[in-house]
Symmetry: C2
DNA sequence: TTCAGCAAACTAAACGATTCATCAGGGGCT
DNA sequence: AGCCCCTGATGAATCGTTTAGTTTGCTGAA
C-alpha cells in the first residue's frame, strides 16, 4: 500500500521556519509578503511537489470548481457533442464536470439534481427530460445559491439562463434551400406540438413557404409521436399515397429522415431527383446513408460551450444568472439527398 | 441572493441541548447512543431538512465518493456507451463520476490525470490515448493510493486491473459465421499491429480459417493506418482487383466496413450475394446503411459497468487492485450484409 | 530622540463533521 | 458499603487551508 503522504502547508512552514499563513499567502500571491519569501516558498513547493489538498480548499472556500451536467441520454450524437463542448470550456477555465444522465425519466432527474447538491457542485447545466413539467428540483439548487443553466430542452418559466437551438431559422433555411432547388410541394414530418423544438421548426417551415409564395397544405404536415425511424417510414408511405404527393420532405430529425429514405428507396423513388429530403440534427450517420443526407446541424458542441461559459460567468460575477435566452445558430449541411442541380 | 443557509450539526446540537458529537453519532447510527436520542436527532434532522455538508465530510474522511473517467473521445458510440454503463453502476453504488476526454493526445491525458488527482477522486477508469506509450502519469495516482482500472486501450505492463473486449473470440465468431454462410475466400482489413485489438482480431480471423480447414492468404490481409472510411474504400478496391478476389471481407471496424460497402455498391457488386461483409463495433449506423451491416457488438455498456464495478470493489476492500484482466464477451449481430441463405 | 506609518510576518479562529479519550451515574457484585 | 463495569453522553482534537486581526521591526520625519 503506497499511500505516499502528500506534503502539506504545515510541512512547508516547519521546514522553512515560517508560519503556515505566510506559506499560504506566498503561494497564493497575496499582498503583504516579500518577494524573497514568495520565491522561497514557491521553489520549495515546486521541489517537493506540493499539491494543495483540494478537499480542504473546497471545504474552506465553500466552492468546488466542479460543475454538474445532466442530460437525458448520453449515448446520443447530440448530447455527447454538447458534453464535449462543455468539457472543453470547463477545462479552459479550470473547472471539472460531473456528468449524469436521466434516461428521460423525471425520477432520475430529481435524483441527479439531489446528487449534484450533495456533491456540492458550484452550479449545473441541464437539459430536461421529456417527463419534466415543473422545476421544483431545480429550485432547490437555486435556493442554495447554485446557478442553473438550462439548454436544449428547457422550462420557460423557470428563471434561469437558457441556451437553445435556433430551430426556427434552422427549419426556415432548410425549407428555403429545398425551394431553391426547385422543389414545389414540400411536406414536413413534425413532432409533438407540446415540445418547443417542434413548434419552432414548424413555424420556420411555414414561414419559408409563405415567404416563397407557396401555400401550406395541412395534409403535408404530419406529427410524429415517438420520432422513430418506423414513423418516418410509415408517414412517408402515407404522404406518397396522397392524390397529390409531395416532391420533398423536411424531417424533424435525421432518424425520421432515415425511415423516410428507407421507404422511398424500397419503392425505388429516386432521391433527390424525384423526392428531396432534408433532416435535422446532422448525425454522423447522415454521411453514411445512400444518398448522403442533407441536414440541419445543431452545433451541439457550441451549445455545450455556451452553456458552460454562461454558467462560469455567472459564478464569477456572483450574480445568480439572469433569465436570458441564448440562441445557437444552426448550419445547413447540404448533401446529396436534396441537391437537384 | 437566496443562499438559504443550510443547517449544520452544531445547530442541531444547540437546539436539542446535546453535544455535536452525540448528534453525529446518532445520525450515523454509531454504538453507544440510546434509541431515544437517535430518534430525537433523526426526527429533528428530517424535519429541518438537514443535509450533511459533503465538503466537510470529504475533507474529514479523505474520500469523495467520486470516480474519474477518462476517455479518448466522447462523441463516439463506443465510448459514450462505456460512460453510460459506468454511470449506471456508479449511481447504483452511490458514487458520482467526473468525466474527461483526451482527444487522443497524451498531453491532455496527463492533464486529465492531474486534474483527477487535484479533484481528489477516489479512483479512476481510463482508456488510453493512441499516443500513450508509458503510464507515468497513472503511476502518480497509484502512488497516492488511488486505484486505477484500465479499459479498452490498456498498457499491459502497468499493474492495474484491466477490462478489455474479447477481440479474439469476436473475430473468430464473425469469421466462422461467414464461413457458415458459405463464403470461401475471406479477406480481413486489419489495423496497426502495435495495437492490441488489431493483433487479437487478426489472430481470431486466422484461427477461424484454420479451424475450418481454410487456408490464410497473405494478400487477403491488409493493415489500415488510420482506420478510416476512405481506407476501407481504397483497400477494398485493391482486394477486388486481385486475380483471385475474396468473396467476403471481415473489417476491423464498422467505419472501414462503410467504406468497403461504398466501393462495392459503386461497382454494383451485390452485398451479400457476391461479397459478404462483417464489421466490428456495431455502431448505430450499422442499422441504417443499405444493406444493414452485420457487426460484432463490443458490449460497451457492460464494459463500463464492469470497469466501474471493479474499481468500486477495489475501493471497498481497500486493496489496491490486483493486476487482473477481464474479458468482455462480444456478440455477433447478424444483419443483411452477411446473410446469404 | 521619539514616534507615526508601513511592510512583513505571525497567531489564532474558523469551516463542519468525525472520533478518540474521558466522564458521570447507575446497577450488580462481593 | 465499597468497588467495578457498563451505558450513554460529552469535550476536545483533528483534518489542511484561508483569512481577519495582531504583532514585530524598521524607516524616515518631526
Amino acid at each position: 500500500m503506497p499511500d505516499k503522504k502528500r506534503i502539506t502547508l504545515k510541512d512547508i512552514a516547519k521546514d522553512l521556519g515560517i508560519s503556515v499563513s505566510t506559506a499560504s499567502r506566498a503561494l497564493n500571491s497575496y499582498s503583504g509578503i516579500s518577494d524573497d519569501t514568495i520565491k522561497l516558498v514557491k521553489d520549495y513547493a515546486e521541489k517537493h511537489n506540493y499539491v494543495p489538498n483540494t478537499m480542504a480548499v473546497n471545504f474552506r472556500k465553500n466552492k468546488t470548481l466542479t460543475l454538474g451536467l445532466i442530460v437525458p441520454e448520453l449515448v446520443h450524437y447530440f448530447f455527447s457533442s454538447v458534453i464535449s463542448g462543455a468539457l472543453a470550456e470547463a477545462k479552459k477555465r479550470g473547472y471539472t464536470v460531473l456528468v449524469s444522465q436521466t434516461e428521460e425519466l423525471l425520477k432520475n432527474e430529481i435524483y441527479a439534481a439531489r446528487t449534484m447538491i450533495a456533491s456540492s457542485v458550484d452550479g449545473i447545466m441541464i437539459s430536461l427530460s421529456n417527463e419534466t413539467k415543473d422545476g421544483d428540483h431545480l429550485k432547490e439548487l437555486l435556493e442554495e445559491g447554485r446557478p442553473v443553466v438550462q439548454f436544449d430542452k428547457v422550462l420557460d418559466d423557470l428563471p434561469t439562463a437558457k441556451v437553445i437551438v435556433d430551430d426556427f431559422n434552422g427549419a426556415y433555411n432548410a425549407v428555403t434551400h429545398l425551394i431553391n432547388q426547385g422543389y414545389q410541394s414540400i411536406a414536413h414530418l413534425n413532432g409533438h406540438q407540446d415540445v418547443n423544438n417542434s413548434v419552432e421548426r414548424l413555424r420556420g417551415y411555414k414561414q419559408a413557404l409563405t415567404d416563397a409564395g407557396l401555400e401550406t397544405k395541412d395534409e403535408y404536415i404530419i406529427h410524429c409521436h415517438d420520432i422513430s425511424e418506423q414513423e418516418g417510414y410509415d408517414f412517408t408511405k402515407d404522404l406518397m399515397q396522397l392524390p397529390d404527393p409531395p416532391d420533398a420532405i423536411f424531417c424533424i430529425t435525421d432518424l425520421v429522415a432515415m425511415g423516410s429514405m428507407k421507404f422511398l428507396k424500397e419503392k425505388e423513388v429516386k432521391i433527390p431527383d424525384q423526392v428531396g429530403i432534408v433532416g435535422f440534427s446532422n448525425w454522423d450517420m447522415a454521411n453514411f446513408v445512400t444518398p448522403t443526407l442533407s441536414s440541419v446541424d445543431q452545433q451541439a458542441f457550441k451549445m455545450g460551450e455556451k452553456a458552460c461559459q454562461i454558467l462560469i460567468d455567472t459564478l464569477k460575477t456572483g450574480e445568480l444568472g439572469k433569465d436570458e435566452t441564448h440562441l445557437i445558430p444552426t448550419e445547413l449541411i447540404v448533401r446529396q439527398s436534396s441537391k437537384r442541380d
